[in-house]
């Protein structure tokens, strides 16, 4: 056995270990399948439903939905959080991709949308969507995470909430678009340009400043999301994708890129996404979404149905590249086992980790920690708090953002009745 409290070797079911694992878990020996006589179900005895032009999930899956912070569109930000505890795999379905919109999604006509590149360039250029679509395109898997994702973890007491409320502001998709470096090359970058101001065509014309080096490294003007055109809330018809960087910088509904010699100090970089530190100073230009992981299965809301075999599974990702390793504990950190990573593992994308587990029915505390290929290690919560602080009073409003860029671990306590709750460990 790899570690305490029933964690099994990550390949227990892969390398001919099935029989061994079955013996450990008792799963295959269960007699609960002693069932009634099988007969045809109602749906097997008649014609099925018509196949629609654009399909939606089964009506039985209607609970698999985002949670909305502002469903009536009051004059403030809207958040739609991804239900990671109800999904599996490594990509987020487009309809469930998280959205933060500060003034709603503009209803953009793709035929008249324009992207202009100007400022410190040799020749300013304007591109139609048709023109962008004709460029050599690349497809890359990347997560997008709000800088404020996981913010409830700064509470001095663990908030009683699940994965969706705590970590629902991150998603992962295959983005297809043209490399920004191609477009900038054509406009001709003036040697004096150091930053690019990216601006959307939403009603507040959201703008952020991006260092030229990132724009030339791996930035993309994306026009497809998981194979289809971008969703309206995710930037239709084009958005900036800055792999691994703060979601707010990956400007949606992109209409303007202005090359300049200083950052604009726009509202969202000078004020909103700057983080107050315990000494009263503040971080500015955090840029990166540091290495992070959390367990999605089990997690609050997913009750364990009695002792026996379960797969512990979750998500890991890092601005530093590919996830190299995820360790899981079932005894609150006393012993650890390495989880299996679903191949292929993409750089700056969700890695799905999995490890088999036999729960004996006693109280346990589950936690994961991730390492990326550049050697970055997910810090402990104590390490995060030592550097970044925590609130003085418990956070009661889950929609509040006491700070941003929490990347410590999340601990789930499994109670003897199978319920899962959030704890600090």
């Amino acid at each position: 056995m790899a570690a305490g409290n029933g964690l099994l070797h990550r390949r227990a079911f892969l390398a001919g270990g099935g029989t061994l694992a079955a013996a450990f878990t008792g799963y295959a020996l269960s007699d609960t399948a002693a069932a009634q006589q099988l007969t045809d179900d109602s749906w097997s005895r008649g014609r099925g439903a018509l196949i629609p032009e654009y399909a939606s999930p089964s009506a039985f899956e209607k609970g698999v939905a985002r949670t909305l912070s502002n469903p009536r569109g009051e004059p403030r930000t809207q958040h739609a959080r991804t239900p990671h505890h109800l999904l599996n795999g490594t990509f987020t379905p487009n309809g469930l991709h998280f959205v933060i919109s500060h003034s709603g999604a503009p209803d953009i006509d793709p035929a008249t949308h324009r992207l202009v590149i100007h400022g410190l360039v040799r020749r300013p250029l304007v591109f139609s969507l048709d023109a962008i679509t004709r460029y050599p395109l690349v497809s890359r898997m990347h997560f997008v995470e709000c800088g404020g994702n996981s913010a409830p973890m700064f509470s001095n007491e663990p908030v009683q909430a699940g994965v969706q409320a705590i970590h629902g502001l991150v998603s992962c998709a295959e983005w297809t678009g043209v490399m920004l470096s191609t477009l900038l090359d054509e406009a001709g970058i003036d040697p004096g340009a150091t930053w690019i101001i990216a601006e959307g065509s939403d009603s507040m014309a959201l703008s952020r400043s991006v260092p030229i080096a990132k724009a030339l490294d791996d930035a993309m003007v994306a026009i497809y999301q998981n194979g289809e055109r971008l969703m309206p809330g995710n930037g239709y018809p084009m958005r900036l994708v800055l792999p691994g960087w703060e979601g707010n910088m990956q400007v949606k509904w992109l209409r303007r890129l202005e090359l300049v010699d200083q950052p604009a100090m726009s509202y969202y970089e000078a004020r909103t996404y700057a983080q107050v530190l315990p000494d009263g100073t503040a971080y500015q230009f955090y840029f990166l979404q540091d290495v992070k992981s959390f367990i999605t299965h089990p997690s609050p809301g997913l009750r364990l149905n009695g002792p026996g075999f379960y797969e512990i599974s979750g998500l890991a990702y890092s601005a530093g590249g590919r996830i190299a390793k995820v360790m899981v504990t079932a005894d609150g950190g006393k012993s650890w086992a390495e989880a299996a990573l679903q191949e292929p593992v993409h750089a700056k994308a969700f890695a799905r980790f999995r490890i088999p587990w036999r729960w004996d029915g006693s109280p346990v505390v589950l936690q994961s920690r991730a390492w990326d290929e550049a050697g970055h290690v997910q810090p402990t919560r104590a390490e995060v708090v030592a550097r970044r602080g925590q609130t003085k009073a418990p956070v009661t409003n889950l929609a509040a953002f006491p700070s941003q860029h929490y990347n410590g671990p999340t601990s789930w306590a499994v109670e003897t009745d199978g319920n899962v709750r959030h704890v600090y460990a």
Binding site: R123, A274, Q284
Partner: protein, 202 residues
Amino acid sequence: MPRRHDGPQRHRDTEKIYLKPLCLCVSVARESAIAFGIAAMMYGGVRAQSPNLGTPIAEAEVAGWDISILPDGTGLPPGSGTPAEGATIFAAKCALCHGPEARGGTNAALVGGAPLTNGIDTAKTIANFWPYATTLFDFTRRAMPWQAPRTLTSDEVYALTAYLLSINKIIGAQDVMNAQTLPKVRMPNRDGFRPRFPEMIP
């Protein structure tokens, strides 16, 4: 003076010649052909092997979208406003959400602010946090009023900016804000920041 808009039109009438088999490109401008050809290769001008599907556009044509204000004041439009003028505009167009005298309503108060050492979740305000006054002009102009953004005149934005700076005691009640005075306003928390990754700041 920062350079933003210099020299964009010189190469609009550019033709490309493909020299095979070396796949070299020499861009030939109608004036000073050879000099530009060298410059294009040095600075990445028109790339022969790139699709080049963008349409050249003059900075003057971008002006309607070019609303960025930089911290040194670049981009600030002509016009001016005073705190008293701003108070009247605020009552008519802003108090609905931000409350009378900016004391807060359905949206945030825009006056006052606790010391940032009170805790990491201290509300970040104009008085205790914002490093540049130009951000106030930029955001007000691009995003406010929430229901009707970019309907304020430049004079109105200057006046609202002056009003908010004045009630936060950052400028005097008689001070006029315009393209010359606004960038000179020193915000109280100007030096309160550090880049998270200094090596990544250009």
